[in-house]
Subunit: 192 residues, 2 copies
């Protein structure tokens, strides 16, 4: 689907904008394309943009002192990604975002988001509910991590991203779940 | 501090409201008092309200099949608490909220929040940023859980709630960190 149509469908599920208002909203986004493996945000960067995925898949991740990778989030089409702590607090990135596949995205700067939120009440409404849903998803993921329930995490992942198992390398899925490749294979075979 | 003054100071840090607008906003909140140990939300309840803490301390928690308690969040004065997944999605509660101490709170219903957000753009702005910050806090907590870094979790907890160590029973702090009482004592002694 064309970038503009995909974003419009996504926004109108939450907010009421006229065609003219949506066109104005959309004029603040910038199309960008990235290659598989390309870095979008690296630890230590200044972060000024958030990214709406049109096509492809991003991952937000960090690597600890023992060089172990943890995947915080995948971002498939209609998902948003950034280092939101850095973006909102205007601090340096503490996580990385890169491309699991070639990706087509729309980027929006911090200042443009605040500008259009203040200009159009319905845009502020949209972003409030976008973040409300992100908050609930982050809390759900925290709960399953606290409870250390790998099976639930696996099932939640498949429910969130049904296409993921066929499109993303297994070692990245294992890094999202916080398990070994072997545990992932066991879960996969048990669920068939 | 008086409930109204505390909420006003909290809101005006983020949003610009005239005195009349704030009075109108405030008129949608209901003061409630709870006793130590009293339940506010129980698993399976319908959830219609969120809670702004004026005095005392709440905890949001769940208990797994092995009757082990996990604390998702403490809520001290000027913090908000609810089962947001249930509140936003209009589903039954999957977590519990109760009182660590006697508590004085202001409650706001789901429908009143949406009503005042739609009536006053600055109120929508306030709630967007309230949730943005909650999202960042939840993601930070998820990162430290994924990395299984108990020491960082302990330090983050003390930074978030400096008064907590003296006001909340140690077994609840351990349940927040996801560690045993013994590990907690070791961290506490090492940090002195």
């Amino acid at each position: 689907m064309q970038a503009k149509a995909l974003l419009k469908e996504h926004v109108l599920k939450i907010a009421s904008l006229t065609d003219d208002e949506f066109d104005y909203f959309f004029s603040h986004f910038k199309p960008e394309t990235f290659k598989k493996g390309q870095s979008i945000i690296s630890e230590g960067d200044a972060v000024d943009k958030e990214y709406f995925v049109i096509d492809g898949c991003l991952k937000a991740f960090f690597v600890n002192d023992e060089v172990k990778m943890y995947i915080l989030q995948f971002a498939m089409p209609t998902w948003w990604a950034s280092d939101y702590a850095a973006l909102y607090n205007k601090t340096k990135a503490t996580i990385n975002v890169d491309c699991v596949s070639d990706a087509e995205i729309l980027s929006l700067s911090n200042s443009d988001r605040e500008k259009i939120c203040s200009e159009l009440h319905q845009v502020e409404h949209f972003f409030r509910w976008r973040t409300n849903r992100g908050y609930v998803a982050a809390q759900k993921r925290l709960l399953s991590f606290m409870n250390n329930d790998t099976k639930t995490r696996y099932e939640e992942l498949l429910a969130l991203y049904p296409a993921l198992y066929n499109t993303v390398p297994k070692h990245l899925i294992a890094a999202y779940l916080g398990v070994s490749r072997e545990t992932l294979s066991r879960l996969y075979n048990a669920s068939k």
